[in-house]
Every structure is written in structure tokens, then in C-alpha cells.
């Protein structure tokens, strides 16, 4: 078993395990921090999937941005929500969670069924890509090519997203502003 | 105005008067009631004195032989194809009923005198009392089955309230028990009544009729009807006429009461207030006996003959069973209640014999028991009013404290146990003689019946010895001794006539036999004739 395989399984287990913890933990702070672990593990998986830049972005944006944002929001929402959360019984399988659990399991089953039966690895376009040498190899340096592509092939989406980000920025700022006349 | 109608409705009239008067005059209610009953008594005496005897006034199954008759059409409905529904207001007396009426009148006066101790809700009490009086008088006069049934049911209502509202500790229980028992009997009687109505036609008009006397004549039954003598119809595998007899008999047997159906009586008597006990024992039990004579034997004579053994057996069982139960009592009122069961057993036994002696004895027993049980219950009421206790074991030596009272008790007790010279002796002796003479019931029944006489001596004498003789010893001590005052004038006024009546009937039985003899002979003749 190669190191890559080992790393994949490690990362996968960390990702899924920490995600489960996030879901199961009654303590919001802990689950938020455990969410870090998930995100890091996912970043690792991106690397193993030969997407270094995405992995870095993942770490920077998510961990550095979103999670901090979440923590801020959480702290701003006050003690009360904490208190409510602390009261919840600390059981993994609580009765009121059972429907959600069932639905989630069912969905997982559904997805797994689909994925296992789809035989994705034998998909024609993958065969074609492999035949055209259109597959990343670990030796490739991807980042240059990615930059070029973003600025050429994907310029329009890139710009649209920039505007969207701007709007989101403005909107978020507007929303979080104290309402003077409310 | 017909004298019987007056007799029946005088109480109702006074009852309305009481209802109309304001509550402020409630002290006068008892006097009003007393007046009503006294008028009734006067009418009763008039009836008795003017009652004509002789074979041509025997009554029973000859409408024209009844006296003081009034017959008015009452309900007349044209029912199309079903003919006319015809109910008459039809009253009249023969030898059997006239004595019952007189006795009722006397007992009612006594009961009013016993009502002096009632303290609460006088208006309701006396109004109900008079209503009961009317119903009882009506029952004894009615010659129309519908009318009879109406009055019969009408008796229940006031009694239920009188027991249930003015009674003792367990009054609701007793009242309900009494009511359900009696209703159980009479509801089925209703069915038979309707069946009879549909079977019988009035020979004059051709309509169906409720006329009791028409029902006694086999010729009036339409061909093939349910109760027709000739058609031999069956219901549920039982001959219809037997079934009819049994059902009506059960209804009246509950009233009498006959042993397996008697358990309402001790409870009702014990819980009822004194005047109601008096009426219950003095009059209402006789309604049962009267009903058996007039309706069971009158309408179904051939069944009465064939079932005489069983009726007699029930009578004997009642006699002995009631007496033995009385022996086991320690509540004085309950003892007397059971003694009533025993004494009324003689009535049944005498009737079963279907001999002149037996039936006359039974009639005498009814009259005699009417007076004597009234007297007994009145006496118990006196002591209960004074100390609110009537447990035999709680008294001793009352003869020292209340000598006059004891004298009356002794008269009542000895008269009840059949001492010669008092009415019960003549009644019981001739009941037994008739029973022995009869071919319908076995001879041993007469001998067994006489054991009842022995047992009655046992329980009455035991009570006398335990309660009245010996050294004075009362449970309540001096307080009771203070309370147990001698007899009041009113009480003497009630007791004395009863004692005299019991004595008079014992010394001159012809006072009763003279009036009933023709009717009894006619009844016997009639049953024999029907059987042939």
C-alpha cells in the first residue's frame, strides 16, 4: 500500500470522523473547532487529488475567513444560545434526532448506491482524457496553468463572481449595521 | 255523586288543598289530612253498614251484583281497523273489596295519627300521603283493568318518595329496592293486561274492553285469541293462560310478599317512617292478596286450581321461613317485618286451598293483619320516636317504665300470635282448616302451617321477655328513661281502636264473615264451574 493510499484513508477518516463529531457534539464551540479539522482534512484530500492551489485557497478562505466569521457571529449571538445548547442532552442518538438521522442515512445510502453502481472510473470521457494525456500527474506544476485559465477561459465567471462578492460584502455590511431607527 | 268516587277522590281533593295552602300554615296540614281520612272513614262505615248481603249481591263475576257501582266512559278512541279503544271509569264493590276499603280507611286514620312526628317538609309529606291514599282506595274499587293498573302504579310513586325522603339511614337503598321490585312485577303485568284486552270483547258493544268482569267470562274471549280458554295457545312453549297467571301472580306475590320475592320488605319497613310502615304493612300487602283473588283467580281460575299445590307450597314456605327469620332478628321493626311475611303466608295458603273456609280465613287474615301490623308498627314507632333506637338488646324491663305501652304491646303481640279471642286466631285456624279440607293442596301443608303459629309464639314471647320484662336496664341510661315517657293521648287514640277492633273481630268474626261469605262462596263456585 502506497503512502498516497494511506494518506487518503487517513485524511478521509479524519474528515468524516470530525464531521461526525461536528454533527454529534452538543458543544457549539467544540463543533466549530472540529469543523477546522474537517476543512484541513479536506484540504489534504485536495492535495491528494493534485489540486494544490485549491487546497491552499480552502485553508485560507475557509479557515481564515469563514470560520473566524462564524466564531464572531456565534459570540455576538450571546450567551443565551450557549445556555440553550448546553442544556441539550448529550446523547448521540436522541429520539428527536432520529428522523434526521434516518433521512441522512437514507440519503447516504442513496448516494452510495448511485456511486457504487455508476462505474464512474470507466466513464468514456475519463478514458478519453487518459488517452489524450489530459490527466494531472504529480509531477505537474498546476498553478501557472490555472492562473492562465482563470484569466482566459473563465474570465467572465471570474468577473461575475467578483461583482457578486462585492455585493455580498456590501450586503453583509449593511445587514450587520446597527439599525438606528428600528 | 257516587260514594265510591267520593271515597277515592276525597284524599286527592284535600291533597290539592294542602298544595294550594301557603307554607305558613304547615301546622294545619296534619289536621287537614286527618279530616280527609276521617271523612273517608265515615264513608267507609257508611259503605259497610249499607252493604247488602245475600247471594244476589255476591259480586265476583256478575257485574249487576256489584254495589255502589259507577261506570262512565272515559277514554274512547276510534282506532280504525282495530276497533274502538274503550276504557271505562268503572268502580264498584263486592264482599271482597268492601272490607278492604273499610280496613284501608281505618289504617289511614291511624297512619295520620302516626305522622304527627314528621317534622320536615310537611307539605310534601301530606300531599304524597293523600295521593297514596287515593291510589290505594282506587285499587280496591276499580273494576276496569286499566283503571286498576293506573291506580296500582300510582301507589308506587308516592311510596318511593315517602320512603326515600323521610326514611331512615339507608332510605335511598330501600326506596330504590322497593320501587324496582314492584315495578319489575307490574311491568310484565302490563303485557298480560294488553294481551287480555286484545282477547276480550265487550258482549254489549263488541269492542275490546278492559272490563275485569268481562274478562272472567270465557264466552267473552274472541275465538283464537291469545288468552282464550278454548284456543290453548302457547307462548314460549308455555300455555298462554298459565303464563299470564304466573306473570300476574308474580306481580302480586312481590306485593304480598311471598318468600323468594320478599327481601324488599324488611328493608323498606326498616327504613320507612312509621306512618309509611303502617300503610305498607297494613294496606299495601293486602293489595297483593286482593289482586290474587280478584285478578289471578278471577281471570285464570283453572290455572289457580291446577297450580294450587305450588301456591300453597309458597305459602307454607313463607309462613315458616318468615317466622324463623323473625326469630333471628334483633331489630324490632325488622322482626315485625318478617312476621308480616309469615302471616301473609297464611293468606296465600288459604287462597290456594280454594275452599270457603280457606278463602274466608285468608280474607280474615288480611283484615286482621291490617289492623295488627298497623298496631305493631305504631308501637315500634312510639319507642323509636322517643329514643331513636329499636334494637331489642338495648332495652330491658320496659314494663316498669312504660306499663300502658307494655299492655298495648302485649295485646298486639298476643293478638298477632293467634291468641283466641283476637282476630288472627280465627283467621289462622280457618285458613288451616280450609287447607286441610281442600282437595287441591296436600294435608301436610296444614300441619306445616300450624308450625308457623308455634314459631310466632316463640319470637313474640322472646321479644316480650327480652325487652319488656326483667329488671329495667336501658342502653341509654337515665337519658332514655327520661325520654321514655308514657303514652300520649294521641297515641292512645290510635292504639285503642285497633286493639278493640282486633278483639271485636276475634269475638264476633261474623263482622267480617257476614259480609264476605256470599262473595267467597260465589268465588269458590265460580272456580269450580270454570274448571268443569
Amino acid at each position: 500500500m502506497s503512502l498516497v493510499t494511506v494518506m487518503f484513508y487517513l485524511m478521509a477518516v479524519i474528515a468524516v470522523g470530525s464531521a461526525v463529531y461536528v454533527a454529534a457534539s452538543k458543544n457549539l464551540v467544540r463543533s466549530v473547532f472540529m469543523f477546522f479539522a474537517t476543512l484541513f482534512a479536506l484540504a489534504g484530500l485536495y492535495v491528494l487529488s493534485l489540486a494544490d492551489f485549491v487546497a491552499v485557497t480552502q485553508v485560507v478562505v475557509y479557515v481564515g475567513g469563514i470560520l473566524v466569521l462564524i466564531l464572531f457571529a456565534f459570540m455576538l449571538s450571546g450567551r443565551e444560545s450557549l445556555a440553550v445548547l448546553a442544556q441539550q442532552t448529550n446523547r448521540l442518538i436522541a429520539v428527536n434526532k432520529l428522523p434526521a438521522m434516518l433521512v441522512a442515512m437514507a440519503f447516504f445510502g442513496l448516494l452510495a448506491y448511485v456511486f457504487l453502481h455508476a462505474r464512474i472510473n470507466d466513464a468514456p470521457w475519463l478514458q478519453e482524457a487518459a488517452a489524450n494525456q489530459n490527466v494531472f500527474t504529480p509531477q505537474d506544476v498546476t498553478i501557472n496553468h490555472l492562473g492562465v485559465n482563470l484569466m482566459t477561459t473563465y474570465l467572465l465567471p471570474f468577473e461575475v463572481i467578483s461583482i457578486l462578492l462585492l455585493m455580498a460584502l456590501a450586503g453583509a455590511a449593511h445587514l450587520s449595521r446597527k439599525e438606528a431607527e428600528a | 255523586m257516587n260514594i265510591l268516587t267520593l271515597f277515592i277522590f276525597i284524599p286527592a281533593l284535600f291533597g290539592f288543598l294542602i298544595l294550594a295552602l301557603p307554607d305558613g300554615l304547615k301546622q294545619t296540614f296534619k289536621y287537614i289530612t286527618l279530616t280527609a281520612t276521617l271523612i273517608q272513614l265515615a264513608l267507609g262505615i257508611y259503605l259497610y253498614l249499607n252493604f247488602k248481603t245475600g247471594a244476589e249481591f255476591a259480586g265476583i263475576n256478575h257485574e249487576q251484583q256489584f254495589q255502589f257501582v259507577q261506570k262512565l266512559p272515559w277514554i274512547s278512541l276510534n282506532m280504525g281497523n282495530a276497533g274502538r279503544m274503550q276504557v271505562d271509569y268503572f268502580v264498584g264493590v263486592d264482599g271482597i273489596s268492601v272490607l278492604m276499603l273499610v280496613m284501608t280507611a281505618v289504617v289511614m286514620v291511624i297512619a295520620v295519627l302516626a305522622s304527627w312526628e314528621i317534622k320536615q317538609n310537611l307539605k310534601g309529606f301530606f300531599a304524597l300521603f293523600l295521593m297514596l291514599d287515593m291510589a290505594v282506595a282506587g285499587v280496591f274499587c276499580a273494576l276496569d283493568f286499566f283503571l286498576f293498573y293506573l291506580f296500582y302504579e300510582l301507589m308506587l310513586l308516592p311510596l318511593y318518595f315517602l320512603i326515600g325522603m323521610w326514611g331512615g339511614v339507608r332510605r335511598e337503598y330501600a326506596a330504590i329496592k322497593f320501587f324496582l321490585y314492584t315495578l319489575f312485577g307490574s311491568v310484565f303485568m302490563l303485557l298480560i293486561m294488553v294481551g287480555l284486552y286484545l282477547s276480550v270483547t265487550d258482549p254489549g258493544t263488541g269492542n275490546h274492553t278492559f272490563n275485569l268482569i268481562s274478562m272472567m267470562n270465557p264466552a267473552n274471549y274472541t275465538q283464537g285469541s291469545v288468552f282464550s280458554l278454548a284456543s290453548h295457545q302457547t307462548l314460549f312453549g308455555v300455555p298462554a293462560r298459565v303464563l299470564g297467571f304466573v306473570v300476574i301472580f308474580i306481580a302480586f306475590a312481590i306485593k304480598v310478599p311471598v318468600v323468594p320475592l320478599h327481601t324488599w320488605l324488611p328493608d323498606a319497613h326498616v327504613e320507612a317512617p312509621t306512618p309509611v310502615s303502617i300503610i305498607l304493612a297494613g294496606v299495601l300487602l293486602k293489595v297483593g292478596g286482593y289482586g290474587i283473588i280478584r285478578i289471578c283467580m278471577g281471570i285464570f281460575p283453572e290455572v289457580a286450581v291446577s297450580g294450587a299445590f305450588w301456591i300453597g307450597l309458597l305459602g307454607v314456605i313463607s309462613i315458616i321461613y318468615g317466622a324463623l327469620n323473625a326469630l333471628a332478628q334483633r331489630d324490632l321493626k325488622r322482626l315485625i317485618a318478617y312476621s308480616s311475611v309469615s302471616h301473609m303466608g297464611f293468606v296465600l295458603l288459604g287462597l290456594a286451598s280454594l275452599t270457603a273456609e280457606g278463602v274466608s280465613g285468608a280474607m280474615m287474615q288480611m283484615v286482621s293483619h291490617g289492623f295488627l301490623s298497623s298496631m305493631l308498627f305504631f308501637l315500634v314507632g312510639i319507642i323509636y320516636d322517643r329514643v331513636h333506637d329499636r334494637d331489642i338488646y338495648n332495652f330491658r324491663g320496659l314494663a316498669t317504665t312504660m306499663p300502658q305501652y307494655t299492655t298495648f304491646v302485649m295485646i298486639a303481640f298476643f293478638a298477632s300470635l293467634g291468641l283466641p279471642g283476637f282476630s288472627a286466631f280465627v283467621a289462622e285456624a280457618f285458613t288451616l282448616a280450609g287447607t286441610f279440607k281442600s282437595d287441591l293442596v296436600p294435608h301436610w301443608m296444614a300441619v306445616c302451617g300450624s308450625i308457623g303459629i308455634l314459631l310466632s309464639a316463640a319470637y313474640f314471647l322472646w321479644t316480650l321477655q327480652r325487652m319488656f320484662f326483667g329488671k329495667e336496664l336501658l342502653k341509654g341510661g337515665d337519658a332514655w328513661k327520661q325520654a321514655l315517657t308514657g303514652l300520649k293521648i294521641r297515641e292512645k287514640l290510635a292504639l285503642f281502636p285497633l286493639a278493640v277492633l282486633a278483639l271485636a273481630l276475634g269475638v264476633m268474626p261474623s263482622l267480617v264473615f257476614g259480609k264476605i261469605n256470599d262473595s267467597v262462596l260465589a268465588l269458590i263456585e265460580f272456580t269450580k264451574h270454570m274448571v268443569r
Binding site: L45, Y62, A112, I120, L146, T153, F158, S176 | -
Partner: protein, 101 residues
């Protein structure tokens, strides 16, 4: 050999967990985390398939876009959550039910 199926299964697990979090939690922030989990599952798929598009870099590019969009939506969502909290003194979406009949 790590195939695409492996990645897909991991992403399916993450997606389901996110789904569970969304369904079961009564805290808007946690629900947000659930949404992030589901988004990440999707991004993982993009990245995994992106491996087979060396020339156009479609998978990785859109993974980047998605990450950025997620950040943006999160920021807006959190702002909304804060507002909601201010108004209702709760961040339980179940209790914010004024639309109910």
C-alpha cells in the same frame, strides 16, 4: 489505488452528515456549518473530477469559485443570523415561525 469512487463516497458521507446537521440542529449557526459541510462535499467532487481536466482546469477553477461564493454567502448568512438574533432573541429557526398560520 485510490479511484474516483473513493472520493465520491467520502463526499457522500460528508454530504449526508451535513444534511443531518441541517435537519437536526436548532441553531442557525450550526445549520450554517452543515451547509458548509455539504458545500465542501461538493467541492471535493469538483476537485476529484478536476484531476481529469488538465487542459481546461474546469474542476479546480470552479472549486475556487465555489469556495469564494461560500465565503460570500456565509458572510451574508451570518449577518442575517445576527439580525434575526437581535429581533427574536433566538437563533433557533424552528422558533422563528411567524409565517405559520
Amino acid at each position: 489505488m485510490i479511484t474516483l469512487t473513493h472520493y465520491l463516497l467520502v463526499s457522500a458521507a460528508l454530504f449526508s452528515i451535513g444534511l443531518y446537521v441541517i435537519l437536526s440542529k436548532q441553531n442557525a449557526i450550526q445549520i450554517l456549518i452543515g451547509i458548509e459541510l455539504m458545500l465542501n462535499a461538493a467541492i471535493l467532487n469538483l476537485v476529484a473530477f478536476g484531476k481529469f481536466d488538465k487542459i481546461n482546469n474546469g474542476g479546480q477553477s470552479f472549486a475556487l469559485f465555489a469556495i469564494v461564493l461560500a465565503a460570500a454567502t456565509t458572510a451574508v448568512a451570518l449577518a442575517i443570523v445576527l439580525n434575526v438574533y437581535r429581533r427574536y432573541k433566538t437563533i433557533d429557526p424552528g422558533k422563528i415561525n411567524q409565517l405559520k398560520d
